[in-house]
Symmetry: C2
Subunit: 403 residues, 2 copies
């Protein structure tokens, strides 16, 4: 296996650090538009090389694949570049993995009731082509989407006879402080992506209605997260799980709720009120910039906040329905990472580490043949057990809470 | 009198429209960095000409003054350009008026307790030079500062024997709607300046303590504004009145509270939390921009929102102390402008109209000799009565409420 990692930001850097400890692949090329950043991430392992790439160009991606005889392209850039990286991998005959899916476009008339272009639609439109070519695009294989989807498959196969709702619930108690110890606002994940997923109309799936949307921040709910994180206010957010799970897992309803907390919700609402979430460029004193890029640029780089961060992050899936014993069941399958552990063990903050570990595991399962497939597939299309076993073997076990 | 108006934005455009109806001056040159904008404002009157100017360059301002034999420079650009325009006027031997004062810098160690460089400090440092040259710089002659300072002088001369507090209180019930009639966020005044004055440490003056500062949005108070505007939440804000009034009017305390309302306060707090209020440029995908300039650029231009705005704006001064009769007295001197009136009468929205009318009146009083002076002076250094009479004659009478 010869891997091309596109993107050496927070998640890409953590991916490189985690993969360096595994021997299932032969070579890994770390590519970024910023060559120096790629070189820093590539310095960790003798199997690694660094390259410059333009992720907005399928040709640039394909050329790099051919140059390095790449078998698997690992996409770790903002999902705005999903399609060129996806197309570039296909053009070069490589398999493809990402941690998100191609972006959505709201319904032009009823954005908060009906779906427009859905997350992943552009990729699923190419599914037949990939299948016929015998190539695999494994989409949504981060932690959420990713591990949450593996949990869905596990619940369907091993815990439930009938599933009512698959409800992904994500929450944390992370705090970032400045040099003087004062708490500062510093998102632990790409602000560009956070704005994208939180301000787009949240999508819900129900067996009778199919996919539909609601206004942002709908159905607020306080969810009690495990391992000391405690109660956090969660709201509906547009997320890939809702598009993936119903395709492979039988259930009645699929939701995603994100534990944003009220301060973050206020910030996102203000950005939207002012139009600072917009991606179209505006003219500002002789130059042109995208307001959302400016918001991301003024905040600390999520890849650098680790040393100033404390707390834990939790990703998980709340499953309700009927257990194998015929009794009503409500189970939360989850994965918690403590920032102090990921920093000490890998030098990467917990949110990017937790995202990056899952595609490394998936690649290892593909390398060993434990996972096999062709077409455009989500993580729930594969057997969950070898994945969860390997997650534990990587030193970050998952948990289960009956509730 | 030959006037050079620097800045053809919201307030500059309204100034040109108001002055066009008066005959006290011979010529007016409208200058802007955007010549087309200057030409539009200059098209209203045969005494007007348009020119391009770089307000950040004292030489550019002085050269224009000499070319057009300017006697009075009217500064109507963002206060960041106060010093070059002020210096350019002096270099060319012209008198000077502005509607703000030179900017402050917070105290480096105790920004929310002590003043650093105060509003107007740079201008007052040059007062002797102006006085010796026999030239007048009339600073802070908009509506607030400006009319509020005239009210302070009026209260001291005609209503009170002893003044306890001079408290400027500004509030409005303005609403801006989009083409579909939905309420939108659209400040009626320069967002750059609003951020500057609202996020800087508010300044207060007390006879015993002198000038001192507090944290932003301190001492919230609901003030009931007249003529149907009603109660609005007001908070301390850094403003020129607090620096001007104690220099010429005997009193115990001077404050400025702005009726921001809770939504606007939240927006400003979020901008500050994210660092989007910063003026230093940041690098964003290959270009450099000031985040605050981006915030201003994404919002509707205050000069263009008039037709979509409804409501009234109120500027006023709440004076407490002992009346001429020796009894305790509490009086609110105020000026209300209804947007529908200013739009119908002048084609300019009420906030910029209310700001612009005051320097036109001041120039008329200087032209007729009713006001005379040399040095760097505030509006309270002059007799209030001819000013208030002329304000009524301009069709926008002021009011008084005993409370």
């Amino acid at each position: 296996m010869r891997i091309l990692l596109i993107g050496a930001g927070g998640v890409g850097g953590a991916f490189a650090a985690i993969a360096a400890r595994r021997d299932f692949f032969e070579a890994l090329v770390v590519a970024d538009y910023d060559l120096a950043r790629a070189e820093r991430a590539a310095a960790t392992d003798s199997r690694y090389a660094a390259a410059r790439v333009d992720a907005s160009s399928a040709e640039s991606v394909a050329a790099l694949c051919r140059e390095h005889r790449i078998t698997h392209v690992m996409n770790a850039v903002d999902p705005v570049f999903d399609m060129p990286v996806f197309d570039g991998a296909f053009a070069a005959g490589a398999d493809y993995l990402d941690m998100a899916m191609s972006l959505s476009k709201p319904h032009p008339e009823a954005p908060y009731e009906r779906t427009g272009v859905k997350l992943g639609d552009e990729q699923f439109a190419a599914a037949e082509e990939w299948e016929e070519a015998g190539r695999l695009a494994l989409v949504g294989i981060g932690v959420e989407p990713g591990l949450s989807d593996v949990f869905a498959r596990y619940a369907a196969d091993h815990l439930f006879s009938e599933i009512d709702e698959l409800g992904t619930r994500d929450g944390a108690n992370l705090v970032v402080t400045d040099d003087d110890g004062n708490e500062i606002f510093a998102p632990s994940f790409s602000m560009w992506t956070t704005i994208e997923e939180c301000l787009n109309p949240p999508v819900i799936w129900e067996r009778e209605r199919g996919w539909f949307t609601t206004p942002p921040f709908s159905e607020p709910e306080v969810f009690d997260f495990p391992e000391g994180i405690g109660p956090v206010e969660c709201v509906n957010v547009e997320h890939e799980e809702v598009l993936l799970m119903p395709r492979w897992v039988d259930c009645r309803r699929v939701t995603f709720k994100y534990g944003l907390g009220s301060e973050f919700i206020t910030i996102l609402q203000v950005l939207h009120t002012l139009g600072l979430d917009r991606t179209e460029k505006v003219r500002v004193k002789g130059v042109e910039v995208s307001p959302r890029d400016v918001v991301a640029a003024v905040l600390p780089d999520p890849a650098t906040v680790g040393p100033r961060m404390t707390g834990k992050t939790c990703a998980g899936l709340w499953v309700t329905g009927t257990g194998k014993d015929g009794q009503p069941r409500s189970t939360y399958l989850y994965h918690v990472v403590d920032n102090s552990w990921s920093m000490a063990e890998y030098g990467h903050q917990c949110v990017v580490w937790q995202t990056a570990v899952n595609p490394v595991i998936a690649l290892e399962l593909l390398a060993t043949g434990a996972w096999q497939g062709a077409g455009v597939l989500g993580p729930e299309a594969f057997d969950a057990v070898p994945f969860l076993d390997l997650l534990t073997a990587y030193g970050a076990p998952w948990g289960r809470r009956e509730q």
